[in-house]
């Protein structure tokens, strides 16, 4: 017996037959605007509390993903989702109205790929033909739980990241039955390709000893590097196998560290430059005053369900490795002097 493998290869390659992404107001002003299926004009989404708003965002994403995939609520065999709030408030309360068998996921900001791997396992193993997965985060709910009240006057250090108000959902199916074509701007149609989940690498929890809750990027990077290198070793692939490798929310600082560490691990510098990027650095413009970039489950969830998924459907990207990264701190652990453990799960998607 050699080293234990961390990577699962899906024999039946589950289809992602539809996806839906929602961005908040600030995200709608950012560079990914046109890739979101919906952007809020008002971050309350017509609800009375921020928590209800986040729950509604997640619910909208889930129901729309099902609708686009041509499935009814009764057809869905399972629903896997998570968020950042204590006791998974947004997800559980969303599931309360949906009547779909539900599994709550928590992987901090890595929830999207965690759900995606487990959802794929369910579909690949024929436990269910249709599984809907998703994740969400909301700036106002996360901020008051993990950091300071919104109206509190304080200065965010340059390493702080901005929790994205966003949600993303995907429908995993054993057969592709999603939309076959899509109208583009000039009125013509383009044929859409199928996006399938080919393999997933479950990450290990890695703690590099970072204690500052405003240094999430650098706290998560070692976990992302570990998962990526293990994925490469398990699959025998190189960076150039993928058209795009995306990490979840390392932010500008984490992305720089990631590049440096990968280079140190002997990977091709040119490949890192051209193929690697980070959702946290893509979701906002630099003049939006977000310091080190975006974070939160919704950051990677909406980028994967919006930008990555649509590009793959249109055939602009063939093979993509997505890696949501999570900082597994609790609201009390920093006060007990604990450092921040990081985690990252990788999922390899193919478009064919």
């Amino acid at each position: 017996m050699g080293r234990k493998r961390q990577t699962i290869f899906f024999e039946n390659k589950p289809y992602i037959s539809s996806a839906y992404s929602i961005g908040g107001k600030k995200e709608g002003d950012g560079p990914l605007r046109k890739w979101f299926d919906m952007c809020l004009n008002d971050d309350t989404f017509g609800e009375k509390t921020w928590e209800k708003a986040e729950s509604k965002m997640l619910k909208t994403a889930m129901t729309e993903a099902l609708r686009r995939g041509g499935r009814s609520v009764e057809e869905a065999g399972a629903m896997l989702s998570g968020d950042l709030l204590n006791q998974l408030m947004s997800s559980s309360f969303m599931a309360r109205d949906m009547h779909i068998p539900f599994l709550g996921m928590y992987g901090a900001c890595s929830t999207m790929t965690e759900s995606l791997i487990l959802g794929s396992v369910l579909v690949d193993g024929r436990y269910s033909d249709d599984v809907v997965i998703g994740a969400s985060s909301h700036y106002c709910t996360a901020e008051r739980q993990f950091r300071m009240p919104l109206e509190h006057g304080n200065q965010r250090p340059p390493s702080a990241q901005w929790t994205a108000t966003a949600a993303g959902a995907m429908l995993l199916s054993s057969c592709g039955r999603g939309e076959a074509a899509e109208a583009i701007d000039d009125g013509s149609y383009i044929e859409l390709r199928d996006v399938r989940v080919e393999a997933g690498t479950i990450g290990k929890v890695i703690d590099a000893g970072v204690k500052d809750a405003n240094q999430m990027g650098s706290a998560m990077t070692p976990a992302a590097v570990d998962t990526l290198l293990n994925h490469m070793e398990d699959t025998g692939r190189d960076l150039d196998h993928y058209d795009l490798i995306l990490t979840g929310d390392l932010g500008f600082i984490g992305k720089d560290i990631m590049r440096d560490l990968l280079e140190g691990a002997g990977l091709n510098k040119a490949d890192i430059e051209t193929r690697y990027d980070d959702c946290g650095t893509m979701i906002y413009e630099s003049q939006q005053d977000v310091h080190s970039g975006g974070s939160g489950c919704g950051c990677s969830a909406s980028t994967f369900a919006g930008y990555v998924y649509k590009k793959m459907r249109r055939g602009e990207l063939d093979r993509v490795l997505i890696m949501s990264t999570g900082a597994l701190l609790s609201t009390i652990s920093p006060f007990q002097g604990e450092s921040i453990p990081g985690i990252a799960h990788a999922v390899s998607l193919v478009s064919e």
Binding site: G24, K25, K26, D42, D43, T44, W50, Y139, C140, M148, P149, L150, E151, H152, G153, N154, Q155, P157, T165, D212, N214
Partner: protein, 117 residues
């Protein structure tokens, strides 16, 4: 000249706070606690009074001034014995504390937090 001293001393205390926030990784509430404590201790050592005499509001408006006020009240209560010591501090700062609670509660009831601007 009074205004100049108020400006310089008040500004200098704020600079100390700014350095505490930027250079160390202390959160804002911790910085506030440190500043109030420093005011209490400096007044106990009778160092803060001369600064107040020099700068007036420059030393009383920043948070060490709040600590100064509490300590000064407690020390002034000494002639009245134990009760004077216990009530003196809060008595001296009662105006600020009461209005901060009462008006603050009212403000919190009237307004709602805003999202991202």
């Amino acid at each position: 000249m009074d205004y100049v001293w108020a400006f310089i001393v008040g500004g200098a205390i704020c600079v100390v706070g700014q350095i505490l926030m930027d250079a160390t990784k202390l959160t804002t509430p911790r910085v506030l606690v440190i500043l109030v404590l420093s005011g209490v201790i400096l007044q106990a050592l009778q160092i803060y009074q001369p600064i107040v005499d020099l700068a007036g509001t420059g030393a009383r408006v920043p948070l060490p001034g709040f600590g100064y006020n509490l300590a000064k009240g407690a020390i002034e209560g000494v002639p009245q014995g134990l009760l004077g010591v216990i009530t003196g501090g809060v008595k001296a700062a009662a105006g600020g504390i009461s209005i901060a609670i009462g008006w603050g509660y009212l403000m919190a009831l009237i307004f709602n937090p805003k999202s991202v601007r």
